[in-house]
Amino acid sequence: MGSKITDKKRKSRDSDSESDDELANGLFDGILSQSEDEEDYLPSDDDDGVEDSEDEGTGASDDDDDDDDILSDDIPSDVDSEEAINRLVKQQGELEITEPGVDPKREEDDGADRNYRIEKDANGGERYVYDEIDPVYDSDDSDAKGPVNTIGDIPLSFYDSYPHIGYDINGKKIMRPATGDALQSLLDSIEVPKGWTGLTDVDTGNPLNLTQDELELVRRVQMGLLPTDVQDPYPDTVEYFTSIEEKMPLSSAPEPKRRFLPSKNEAKQIMKLVRAIREGRILPYKPPEEREREEEEQEEVHFDLWQNEEPQAPNPMHIPAPKLAPPGYDLSYNPPEEYLPSKEEREEWENADPEDREKEYLPQKHNALRKVPAWGNLVKERFERCMDLYLAPRIRKNRLNIDPNSLLPKLPSPSELKPFPTVAQTIFRGHEGRVRSVSVDPTGVALATGGDDGTVRVWELLTGRQVWSVKLNSEEPVNAVRWRPTKDAFVLAAAAGEDIFLMVPTHASVTPALDQASRDILATGFGYATNGQQPAAPVGKEPAAKWARPGTKLEDEGVLIRITVRSTVKVINWHRRGDHFATVSPTGQRSSVAIHTLSKHLTQIPFRKLSGLAQTAAFHPLRPLFFVATQRTIRCYDLQKLELVKVVQPGAKWISSFDIHPGGDNLIVGSYDKRLLWHDLDLSNRPYKTMRFHGQAIRQVRYHRGGLPLFADASDDGSLQIFHGKVPNDQLENPTIVPVKMLKGHKVVSKLGVLDIDWHPREPWCVSAGADGTARLWM
């Protein structure tokens, strides 16, 4: 204990370095004990420490105490303790006064705020008159109520002869209180006031009255009971802070020896258990089922804290780290031979600067995984990866998340657009060489074909039976065959070389009446000519064409008229009424386009001059318009006003064919540069839609004329393409064009595939003419 006190003093001095040595007397201890709350605990602490040290040895306890002190002295930075110190200083000032031999001048040095004043006393000496001590708010000085008699421990009877009963702290007499007269005191003694004791208060000289509580207290003291009325005078301390001192867990003290000795008591207990297990009184483990059940019960306790948690989108600012490339074969510990570097490659790699190496590693072969050495560059690699992730800025790129299919226009599926031809159903064989042209008659029963062998053949459409044929020319191919488009007669026009033949292919199914009607239609022109109504050809000018009978041999076959023009006719197109037809001879220069009138046996050349080579020509299906296609443009002429109405420029390099929609407002154009173009005549002179589906030139395009929204093209790549092309009634809507079927079957012979195409007048059936010598019916 002695050493502890000196320690404490030392610490105190350290903390209050300005204090004088004079303050270091025995009283200092008491002041500290008043000011520091913790000091109250110290004695008991020390007692514990002593007891501990008796157990564990003195060295340890000393250390403990030191630590304690340090802990307690570390506190003064607190505001409360600072106040306590200030108070302490004031009290020191008081002490100095009561203490003799103190130099008062030292106090004067302290400054103006002294708490006393100096007065002259009766003897003329100095006298210090102190201010009233102003107790701070929570001061426990509750005794200083009134003047306190300072006479000390002498009986009051000493002052019986004086008017006063003593002196207060300022030396003033405390006067004896006035006592009542005898009668009053008698009355008082008769009527005992509350708390009357019959004693006199020493301090004041007044009769001492005690309150009921005080009397009770007195009574209890007299009875030897507890002075206050409490149940348990010694309750267990409920400590605000624990008083149990934690042992230092990291003690360097050697383990006590007893720890190494097996405890006999424990051995006894264990033996008891062992015996019990041996005898089967207790089971070391629960039976497995029970254990499982218990485990399950335990498991049942677990519950998913996040089971109701809804998945949340990751933080929008989160950018995941870019992934590393997955390892390849050359990173395998046992790569295939071709991944192993050759000697030169190895040398080159080793000699190269590490920065210049293409790869960080050389593929190596180990014959067992356990022989693979550690990867020396692991730390470096990881570090570089971390640096990459840390230093390289990552940017979130906003990709356009659009399904490319959704950008495509919505087209109905081909299966909804049925019917359309899908397969070849009849093959018409018979022509030697190419079939150049096909035409289905207006009743839909007969098919006419013309080919390289100079023959025109008529077939039964469904069975493929040839019912009629005629050889028109042994040298020139038949370039075009077209049925006259009315049902009242059965007239076929065919062009072979420079000759156009008009014939009545009378096979057995043609009734005599129909046959006669057809012949009459063809023959009327002869009478017209002989009657001299035909305008005479200008003198000196060769007539545009010569109409004549082809000779008895052909006439017996049914070929009734031969029209000879100046150059090879490639295209025939009838007017819808069947009286006129247009022919085109692309090589014919000025007279390339001719319009023939059947009833007058008249041939006219409508164009004196044509810019470009005429390719094909056609009549408008409804109005008196005439379309002529040159290589680049299609011109539309009004036949009544005799003027150019429109110029359509499809943009194709070389137009091969065109066809006018039965409605009259749309046009399809096929070109030798593989394009199929749809024109809306009202809309623009540029194509509404361009389709490039063929690998080779398009030879022929054709609308269905029987009310079905179909059109087809024929190409040199041997295929036909069938399109659904619906022209809406509403002028504002655009036509729907959907390719529905590619028909393949024709063989390509010397780069020519399908040469002509025609539709059945009612059904979705089409007939194609192929360079392979066949015509095919597709349905």
Partner: protein, 485 residues
């Protein structure tokens, strides 16, 4: 017959035999049996024929499991259908069907457009009555060369019609039918229907004489149907008209003179005929179709009712007594062929019509015009142009198509239509496919049946399935027990 059900090594399946055939019923106690799992149709058939079961000797049986014929072993069937070996299988046994095996071919000079059969059970044989002699089975073939040929069953030509210059057809014949064993009718692309008198001097030679030329159609006549009892002919022509004709000179009206071959004086070749037959017109000519009419048939139970099919997508019911159209059924495709399938208990027939969309559609003529087809028969790769009902039962028919096949259909085997097929109604698939025999057809499957189109088919109870086509042959296939009774 051993006991085939004893098989120690393999698994066994419990089967229950059922049948609808009254003469082949098993006793109740024998219907359930354990059979080896790897047993096939043949084994099961032997089990049923064994003494312990039916004791029938050797009737071949087929087995229906869940509506389909068992074609694999039982074990495979169970695994394919995801059933366990323990499940009890119900096997319905029916008399086994014999595939329509090829029997003979008769060579022609040109494409064969139509065939007909005269036999005891054929309609013409029945119309012949007592005059038909046993063994006088004849096959009539019409050819594109304009000739009719009559064959006996062993493939000898007994009679050939005269050529065009001698009173025969001047163009291809498209249809021909026996009326009786002494009379037949033919029609063709020369727009005429000709009635012939057929006489046989002995069993190896005969004579065909034209007795009547019927004029009226203005287009090729594609189909001809006869009724020997009432001596009436029904024709369908490419001009869209249905003709109704009489075979007797007396009852037939005069022909329209403009249609006669020498009606006009043009410079075209005259057909000079040495033999002249009487020229007559139609009893009635009904231009009821807007497109070529492809076929017309009599109602099998009422000869005053006819049905006609046309390329204008319609199927019309005609009352022949008044020559008026009673009902019109519109279909979605052009119709190319027609046949009436008689149905029992005197109800109206079911009509089978071949369409240009390569299937055969079955139409109930009683149903309202708005309803679509009852069933669709799918499988042909080209236009079915001829149909013939089975002579033995009302569920079967045979079709001939331009794809070079005849197909035998059993209307009882039905599956619902798939989404691609339109999803509506039910669909049947062919039971048997009869390919063309001969050098051309064997080589390769030609595009669209080119070179082997079949134009005509007849199913006779005795001679079998007789068909003729582009390969210039009449082909005979066995027709007995092809479809379950």
């Amino acid at each position: 017959m051993d006991e085939p059900m004893v098989d120690a090594s393999g698994a066994q399946v419990k089967v229950t035999f059922t049948t609808t055939e009254a003469d082949l019923q098993l006793p109740e106690s024998k219907r359930q049996l354990l059979v080896p799992a790897d047993i096939r149709r043949y084994g099961l058939s032997r089990v049923l024929n064994s003494e312990s079961m039916l004791d029938t000797g050797s009737i071949p049986f087929d087995f229906l499991v869940n509506g389909s014929f068992l074609r694999t072993s039982l074990e495979d069937y169970l695994t394919n259908n995801g059933l366990s070996l323990e499940s009890n299988l119900t096997l319905q046994y029916v008399r086994s069907l014999i595939p329509p095996v090829y029997e003979a071919s008769f060579e022609h000079d040109d494409w064969v457009s139509a065939v007909d059969v005269l036999s005891a059970s054929s309609p013409s044989g029945r119309w012949s009555g007592d005059s038909f002699q046993r063994g006088q089975d004849r096959i009539l073939s019409a050819s594109f060369d304009g000739l009719l040929r009559i064959w006996n069953a062993s493939g000898q030509v007994i009679a050939t019609s005269p050529s065009g210059s001698h009173g025969g057809h001047t163009a291809s014949i498209k249809a021909a039918k026996f009326l009786t064993n002494t009379q037949l009718a033919s029609a063709g692309m020369d727009r005429t229907v000709r009635v012939w008198k057929y006489t046989e001097s002995d069993h190896f030679s005969g004579d065909l004489k034209p007795t009547l030329e019927l004029y009226g159609h203005t287009g090729s006549i594609d189909s001809l149907e006869v009724d020997g009892a009432s001596k009436r002919i029904l024709t369908a022509s490419a001009d869209g008209a249905i003709g109704f004709w009489s075979t007797s000179k007396a009852s037939a009206p005069e022909a329209d003179s403009s249609l006669l071959p020498n009606a006009h004086t043009s410079k075209r070749r005259k057909v000079t005929t040495s033999v002249t037959a009487a020229q007559r017109g139609p009893l009635s000519l009904m231009p009821i179709h807007s497109a070529p009419a492809s076929a017309a048939v009599f109602d099998p139970r009422d000869r005053t009712v006819a049905y006609s099919a046309s390329q204008d997508h319609t199927l019309r019911t005609i009352d022949l007594t008044t020559s008026t159209v009673v009902t019109t059924h519109s279909t979605t495709h052009p119709l190319l062929s027609l046949c009436a399938l008689p149905r029992g208990n005197n109800s109206s027939p079911l009509l089978a019509a071949g369409t240009a969309a390569r299937h055969i559609t079955l139409v109930d003529p009683r149903a309202s015009a708005a309803t679509t087809s009852v069933m669709t028969l799918r499988g042909h790769a080209n236009k079915p142009v001829a149909l013939c009902a089975s002579p033995r039962n009302e569920y079967a028919l045979v079709s001939a198509a331009h794809d070079g096949t005849c197909r035998v259909w059993d209307l009882r085997s039905v599956r619902p239509a798939t989404q691609e097929e339109g999803g509506l109604g039910s669909v049947s698939e062919a039971v048997y496919v009869i390919e063309r025999e001969g050098k051309g057809a064997k080589k390769s499957v030609a595009v669209a049946g080119e070179g082997c189109k079949v134009f005509g088919v007849v199913w006779d109870a005795e001679l079998g399935i007789v068909s003729g086509g582009e390969d210039k042959r009449v082909q005979i296939n066995a027709g007995r027990d092809v479809v379950a009774e």
